[in-house]
Point group: C2
Chain length 99, copies 2
């Protein structure tokens, strides 16, 4: 496969995952409902993408109590940040060859 296609990371192929990573690049922490609203997803669909990205150690979960209520937030890991940047660069190279 052409080099710039090989560098496209299958973990980020879906636009939901692009959206999740994109939001975590500009926000240190994002909670479940914010993802849900901005990406327009059902609980189940969002949860499965989050689980997959967590399994790859690209994002991590933080559970805490805020005003005695449980709050779950997500943030990018160093590994996730690096992998996402590499993916964006691969997409950029792909576009350069196709536009």
């Amino acid at each position: 496969m052409k080099e710039y296609l090989e560098d496209i990371n299958k973990a980020f192929e879906s636009k939901v995952r692009l959206g999740i990573m994109s939001m975590l690049m500009v926000n240190d922490e994002v909670d479940f409902n914010t993802f849900k609203e901005l990406l327009g997803l059902t609980d189940g669909n969002l949860a499965s993408h989050i689980k997959a990205l967590e399994g790859l150690n690209y994002i991590e979960v933080k559970k805490q109590f805020v005003e005695r209520k449980p709050k779950t937030t997500y943030s990018k890991t160093k590994t996730g940040e690096k992998a996402f940047h590499e993916h964006l660069q691969a997409l950029e190279a792909f576009l350069k060859n196709n536009l």
Copy 2:
């Protein structure tokens, strides 16, 4: 979902499909084995992606005889070309917001 994410076409999310469409943009016709070799795929995997793109009327198949041997080639449709361009523009917009 953010506008530029909405315009990302789910039909082109996989890099195999990006590769197929990309090859059809620069070649009027591509045969099965050329796709297979350049994209490094098994018959089954390639066939299923081709079938999906055909089902969407993004590519079309042509069966002919060349020197009395059957030859199957694929080409883009007008619909496919337009959809792929829109997808590339959506990816470009996404990158502009993330790089």
